[in-house]
Symmetry: C2
Subunit: 338 residues, 2 copies
DNA sequence: TTGAAAGCGCTAACAG
DNA sequence: CTGTTAGCGCTTTCAA
């Protein structure tokens, strides 16, 4: 068993004063004589005294913990967002407890319960791709427990959220494909009930319209966000009588899965098919050809979500702010036909 | 402000009984009459009572928290290990607090302090690449606070640890290169004070010996684990008067950075230079050509580390067990010359 | 200038 | 069978 940390009591008995005196001395309370204060602070240092957060938490009814629920921790996208959240949390003296829903609504519900039972002071969450029902968030809202969504949000709930401008991104990509000679531009989308799927689809349609291309329903396929489904969706596109000359995938899993499948079927990127996706720089560069992609401001998204969280926490108001972060299109070889 | 959770006191006053009666009823203590028990439990359910972990922690002197320190959270390698740790932790009713050292010894020291001040019950850590001095772990060891290392360990401290069999892995790779016609096999290693660097180097040398190849010091280069340094190291190898016909990198960052650099310099993989690395499946497949690699059992490593941790925690003994996990060489196109 | 006491939520030993 | 009490570590009135 580990030895106990030093407590105020330890210091008090060692110096023959009362606990409250020690407590006051440590926060430089003017009532305590300077010399006693000095003596107490010195001993506290020697004994490496640090206040017991459990005792403080019990007293103040706060745990200094934020619950974070992500669909998956094993991706650069989420781990980078988590880094951003953690940075801000640390600055505020908070730490974060991460829970992964594994894209399952059931697990998301359990995570909410567990975290609440652990007395986190609030939640920062990215919905699982399955989540189409939101009653597990009602109790948070009713009890005014701080809640912030990021990336995937529920449009019906007026919950503060941080988003990337997916609509603009897909519109830009569509236009970019057009300007590089593509006319049959396909889009592999995610589950329709996710806001990010919907927004990106809107941008895609707007982009087509802007370029005076008629929308061909065959070129819009849906898939859940697994590698397997993304490959199937790609196959479906490639097998069309009149296959696409450009494809973009809604997230990095889809983009890379599409890339694997396109190569496997013997098509050349970008000459036969241009490709673009949403992903981070490192992986975009490492693949062949380097992937044109939308750079998601992940770290910033995490920071913004955490800052929003603390705004909620201190103001206690029901701000239903929505922050939309700009995105960037980084053009690489996968979309420039020779 | 969020509403308070229901407490034993709330239930007690509502039912007009004492707090201890409620407490006992909720754990089915035989002393309490069945009907009262039933009544109390029912109300507890309605009010969604869950014990306050802060109060429990204060009482039992335990926080049910494990501190986890990783060099970097933004890589598949570590996030996958974290998933493994988290799974086991959850099964034991613990949650984990993650802190990233960003490969800095200074930040590692701070992390240890912060986590200890947060009263985590122990630490599971992977050393930063800078860490060459270990006094910040002494207090843990002296106070018998559970500590487990994984992947990167301090050989001098008798701390329980989970490792992958890097020596065998590099020996296998070396032999594999040889069997595929390579004779000038280069190895890009990490910082020399890291155990993983040393072990993998030993395997490399053993492999050479086994294949009756004389060791050429020019073919062994060191770098820290950043992309930039790895690229420089690769350049250095490629500029040799007699450049290598095979390269392997000590981890995935190095392997991919080497791949980028080799291509950039116009060498063909695998025909000019065979390449292999340590990384996960998904990324190995997505690059071109698919990368021969050693599959690190990351999730298992996390699980094993957590299990070891709980063994320490309950037994309280000073087990200095060392678990070595097997690795697998997965041959793909990057190492098969045509 | 300092100490005593109450209370945050909970358990367990001790009384009734 | 149930209630009282003390105590985990800390802050904060209220008293001295």
């Amino acid at each position: 068993m580990s030895k106990r940390h030093t407590s105020l009591k330890d210091l008090a008995t060692e110096l023959g004063v009362s606990i409250s005196t020690v407590s006051r001395a440590l926060k430089n309370h003017p009532d305590i004589s300077p010399e006693l204060t000095r003596k107490i602070q010195q001993l506290a240092n020697e004994r490496h005294y640090t206040p017991n957060p459990l005792a403080m938490g019990l007293l103040r009814q706060q745990t200094k913990m934020i619950g974070v629920i992500v669909p998956d921790i094993n991706t650069h996208f989420y781990s980078s967002i988590i880094s951003g959240i953690e940075k801000v949390a640390k600055e505020h003296g908070y730490f974060i407890v991460i829970s992964s829903s594994n894209e399952s609504m059931q697990k998301e519900i359990e995570s909410v319960d567990n975290l609440l039972n652990s007395r986190v002071e609030g939640l920062i969450v990215c919905l699982s791709q399955e989540t189409d029902e939101f009653s597990h968030f009602h109790k948070l809202i009713e009890n005014e427990i701080p809640l912030v969504f990021f990336d995937r949000v529920c449009e019906d709930l007026s919950v503060p959220a941080v988003l990337a401008n997916g609509e603009e991104a897909t519109q830009m990509i569509t236009r970019h494909f057009y300007e590089n000679g593509c006319r049959r531009i396909a889009y592999i989308s995610g589950p329709g009930h996710l806001n990010i799927s919907r927004n990106r689809k809107i941008g895609y349609l707007k982009g087509l319209e802007e370029c005076h291309i008629d929308f061909d329903p065959q070129l819009l396929v849906n898939c859940n966000l697994s590698i397997e489904e993304a490959r199937l969706a790609t196959q479906q596109l490639l097998q069309l009588p009149n296959p696409p000359d450009a494809i973009f995938g809604m997230n990095d899993t889809i983009a890379f899965a599409a890339m694997i499948e396109i190569k496997k079927q013997g098509f050349k990127i970008p000459d036969d098919i241009s490709l673009a996706g949403f992903t981070d720089e490192f992986h975009s560069i490492v693949v062949d050809p380097p992937l044109t992609s939308v750079s998601h401001p992940t770290f910033e998204m995490g920071k913004a979500a955490a800052e929003l969280f603390f705004e909620l926490l201190v103001k206690g108001e029901n701000i239903s702010k929505r922050i939309v972060l700009p995105i960037d299109l980084v053009v690489r070889q996968s979309s420039i036909k020779n």
